[in-house]
């Protein structure tokens, strides 16, 4: 069955209910195109997501999916991967999901380095709750929750991920599907925690940052000969974030061993394949006599 060339195998009958022009469409297409770059069949892939417009994405990609709780796609993805490490596990969510509610899980997932791909649809607003400012919302950004402009300084997801120890850190743009496809392919191939911060257009609640606005500002790191193995340079680039010039591409990729490599329990195959009948606990009882 593998690689039978059916280019529609990740399509679903159900259609997304995002706003016309939403950046999520670009991310969804890029993800499907990325999956088609591999031999994967739909049953070999599982997506987890949080809550928000973007987190509905598993419903519209033909793979196993668990659309769970706001801020929690990463813990669920971690448990899934450890339960069956043969699966390709992709976690998705928005910036509110990942950097407001789910920030702790994000930081910990970076340092834990389980082999997951985490794609954040980052548009600076809570869209499904009608446009409040999120943790990546720019200082001064006016919204229904910050009518006088946001007071807080925003999270810098790329710099944060590098600091927290992520072994793969990239930034994409929902309006550049080919680049994003390639980033997702690289993230899935990467052994360890791979994070992609995707600059996503929200046409309804953050219309000032339109496709044109982004296109005028994004550039590709590879065009400037950035070496992703150079962590210090990656950090400098991440910290020099300013809205006049937005770097995209792979900031950092390291060779840290994934978490799973340190678990001899997994050498006999995925935990889910282990037999559980008639487990002998007589040695445990003998210890207590």
């Amino acid at each position: 069955m593998n690689g039978d060339g059916d280019k529609t195998r990740f399509n679903t009958a159900a259609k997304p209910n995002w706003c016309l022009g939403c950046g999520n469409f670009g991310i969804q297409s890029a993800l499907k195109k990325a999956l088609l770059e591999f031999d994967f069949e739909p049953h070999q892939v599982v997506m987890t997501s949080g809550i928000g417009c973007s987190s509905k994405i598993p419903h519209w990609i033909n793979v196993y999916g668990l659309h769970g709780l706001h801020g929690r796609p990463l813990p669920i993805a971690a448990g899934l991967k450890l339960g069956n490490h043969d699966l390709v596990v992709i976690a998705e969510g928005g910036d509110g999901d990942g950097f407001s509610e789910g920030m702790n899980h994000f930081v910990q997932a970076c340092r834990r380095n389980i082999d997951l791909t985490y794609i954040v649809h980052n548009n600076g607003v809570f869209s499904l709750t009608t446009g409040q400012t999120s943790a990546t919302g720019k200082q001064g950004f006016a919204s229904s929750s910050t009518p006088d402009g946001s007071i807080e300084s925003p999270v810098n997801p790329v710099a944060l991920a590098i600091t927290a120890g992520a072994s793969f850190v990239a930034r994409g743009f929902s309006g550049d599907m080919n680049q994003l496809r390639d980033l997702i392919v690289a993230a899935i191939k990467h052994r360890g925690f791979a994070f992609i911060d995707v600059l996503q257009v929200c046409v309804t609640y953050n219309p000032a940052k339109s496709y044109k606005w982004y296109k005028d500002r994004v550039y590709k790191l590879e065009d400037e000969n950035h070496n992703p193995a150079d962590r210090d340079k990656a950090m400098t680039l991440a910290l020099s974030f300013d809205e006049d010039r937005l770097a995209t591409g792979i900031f950092y990729q390291g060779g840290q061993n994934p978490y799973e490599d340190s678990l001899p329990q997994l050498k006999k195959g995925p935990l889910v394949s282990h037999q559980v009948d008639n487990i002998d606990i007589s040695n445990l009882m003998a210890e207590l006599i």
């Binding site: 069955m1 159900a14 069949e41 739909p42 049953h43 070999q44 599982v46 987890t48 809550i51 509905k56 598993p58 419903h59 033909n62 793979v63 196993y64 999916g65 668990l66 659309h67 769970g68 709780l69 929690r72 990463l74 813990p75 669920i76 993805a77 971690a78 448990g79 899934l80 991967k81 450890l82 339960g83 069956n84 043969d86 699966l87 702790n104 899980h105 930081v107 910990q108 678990l263 001899p264 329990q265 997994l266 006999k268 995925p270 935990l271 889910v272 282990h274 559980v276 009948d277 487990i279 606990i281 007589s282 445990l284 009882m285 207590l288 006599i289």
Partner: protein
């Protein structure tokens, strides 16, 4: 002269090895065929505060402790000040008048006049002995054990044998030093004081018994059930389950994770279970507050999941290392909305073992969360117990579809409406089974649906699932004479003390009691509880909480009120004689 009947207490400050002495003595007595119960009382502190352990020894099964002790081994001055009046007349105090070590927070504390002419005061120069044989202050534990064995005229070679076994990782000369220190204290205690105390311990021929806590039993039940994933953020009184399971994780091909918080612990367990392995998340009430989000997700997304909730007194941090049964109503109603859940409450290690094993079968069969509700008393106290009979323990993963069945079905509906409410499940990785699960209301395929009729049908389907779980036999147990004059009603960790109190009252011919123990809190054994309540001549609710939560539940489920109640909520378990007195006051 009494033989093999003893209430012993060892007191000291945290870090001094009080539990080591208590447990070593208990283990030794257990190995010579005696029954044991150990209650630990300690504060949330690592060094300095007062700790004590009480060890009950008997030739008959014993499950509870008494207010008074026959023998107090005081390792510091505070233990004497706090506990001297708890020594039974004719009992004994063992201490070291010259060498009592002061706790870092009680420096300068003086014993003063003990003021007890009715007990034997056994002054053994434990610190000096430790020094004489070349040891340090830390060796006082071993010397104290020697003194204890001496006054009880116990065979010294049994103690020496235990030292050789349990200290086998130490250098031989250190082991022999401990033995020599113990021997010197043993000789003084035996020669000078044992006749006055008049309690002796003797070996009895008995089958091998385990000495274990509820936490050991939960860990073993989970490993026996094939748990592959255990996630837990440390919190008393459940932390030791993580320790026990982690110790054996590699041998049992499973993984333990200590994640960033209890939200993640529960979320990881959801993910592992969704992947198809048996998973459990463990915590106490405070951590369960954080886990409730995923509890409900598992409910609506129909993901089998086992939770361990070891209660301690709340709210908030409460009394972190003490005991209470205060979370019953919380776990029954935690999370918004309605979904089926199963809640079991073991009352001793054996029940903890069998119910934990069963919890995994129930979770898989009904595809819903199962909560094992223990508390500090059952989790951390130790009891002697026959090795578990594991014959006939069968794994039931419920209705699971593989590739062949899925290909026959074709258009697989993960949340198909069925008569039983149970929809056959599959797992990621299986061809032909691709589906979505979601915390949103969903249709039979698992896709989000806000259709009104669908909502009602899916809700009814989920709530139907546990209707087929008949708990009338397994969910409740009536201990004792069904026609007794008095029916005591309780659950969980009060089981051993209620049973002991019953036999105590029976021996005294005071009153004939039986004990209605509720084991399944949800689904609730309503019919059986109603039947027993209606036939009872008089009922008393006994709970370790301030509001009588089981009483509330019984009233809710049966419409019947328990006539009287005895509640204790100071963070400590009932003493056997205290409970007997409280019952008699109400007759």
């Amino acid at each position: 002269m009494k033989t093999n009947e003893l209430s012993f207490m060892v007191g000291g400050f945290a870090g001094q090895g009080v539990n080591t002495v208590g447990n070593a003595f208990a283990r030794l007595c257990s190995r010579v065929g005696l029954h044991i119960f150990v209650n630990l009382e300690y504060p949330s502190n690592i060094k300095g505060e007062h700790n004590y352990a009480q060890v009950m020894v008997s030739e008959e099964p014993v499950g509870s402790h008494t207010r008074l002790v026959d023998l107090l081994l005081a390792l510091d001055a505070k233990s004497i000040i706090l506990h001297k009046d708890e020594i039974t007349p004719g009992g004994a105090l063992i201490y070291d008048a010259e060498g009592l070590e002061a706790s870092p927070i009680d420096i300068g504390l003086k014993v003063g006049d003990i003021g007890r002419n009715d007990i034997t005061v056994v002054d053994i120069p434990m610190a000096q002995i430790a020094k004489d044989v070349g040891g340090t202050q830390k060796m006082i534990n071993s010397v104290g054990l020697g003194a204890l064995q001496g006054i009880l005229q116990f065979d010294f070679e049994l103690l020496a044998g235990m030292f050789r076994q349990t200290l086998s990782k130490l250098e031989d000369k250190v082991v022999e030093m401990n033995i020599e220190g113990a021997r010197r204290a043993y000789s003084i205690a035996r020669e000078r004081f044992s006749e006055q105390l008049g309690i002796i311990l003797e070996k009895r021929d008995a089958p091998d018994r385990m000495l274990l806590t509820g936490n050991h039993a939960v860990a073993m039940g989970a490993l026996k059930a094939g748990v592959k994933f255990y996630s837990s953020y440390p919190m008393s009184p459940s932390s030791a389950v993580l320790t026990h399971v982690s110790k054996h994780a590699r041998n049992y091909d499973m993984i333990t994770v200590l994640p960033e918080d209890e939200i993640s612990a529960a979320g990881m367990a959801v993910g592992a279970s969704f992947a198809g392995v048996r998973a459990m998340a463990g915590t106490s009430g405070g951590g369960f507050c954080l886990m409730t989000e995923h509890l409900g997700l598992a409910g609506i997304a129909e993901i089998p999941l086992v939770f361990l909730e070891g209660q301690r007194p709340g709210p908030a941090t409460g009394l972190p290392t003490r005991t209470e049964q205060g979370d019953l109503l919380f776990v029954l109603y935690a999370h918004q909305g309605s979904f089926p859940r199963i809640v079991v409450a073991p009352g001793d290690p054996a029940e903890a073992f069998y119910l934990t094993f069963e919890a995994f079968n129930l979770a898989d069969r009904y595809q819903t969360p199962v909560i094992i509700l223990t508390d500090k008393h059952v989790a951390e106290s130790s009891w002697t117990c026959e090795p578990f009979d594991t014959r006939g323990m069968k794994i039931d993963r419920g209705d699971v579809l593989g590739e062949a069945e899925l290909s026959r079905i074709g258009d697989y509906k993960r949340f198909r409406i069925t008569d039983s409410g149970i929809s056959p499940r599959t797992r990621p990785g299986i061809p032909g089974g691709v589906f979505k699960a979601t915390g949103n209301e969903h249709n039979e395929f698992g896709l989000i649906s806000e259709d009104a009729d669908n909502r009602a049908r899916q809700m009814e389907k989920r709530l139907r699932k546990t209707a087929s779980l008949d708990v009338s036999e397994i969910g409740v147990k009536l201990h004792g004479d069904p026609n007794a004059d008095l029916t005591l009603i309780g659950w969980g960790s009060t089981k051993p003390v209620i049973l002991d109190t019953m036999s105590h009252l029976k021996k005294d011919h005071t009153v004939s009691c039986n004990f209605l123990q509720v084991i399944y809190m949800e689904p609730f054994p309503t019919d059986r509880v109603t039947e027993v309540m209606e036939n009872a001549k008089h009922t008393i609710l006994i709970e370790n909480n301030a509001t009588g939560q089981l009483g509330t539940l019984i009233r809710q489920k049966t419409g019947l009120a328990v006539a009287d109640k005895i509640l204790k909520y100071n963070g400590r378990q009932f003493f056997r004689d205290e409970l007997a007195d409280l019952i008699q006051q109400r007759l």
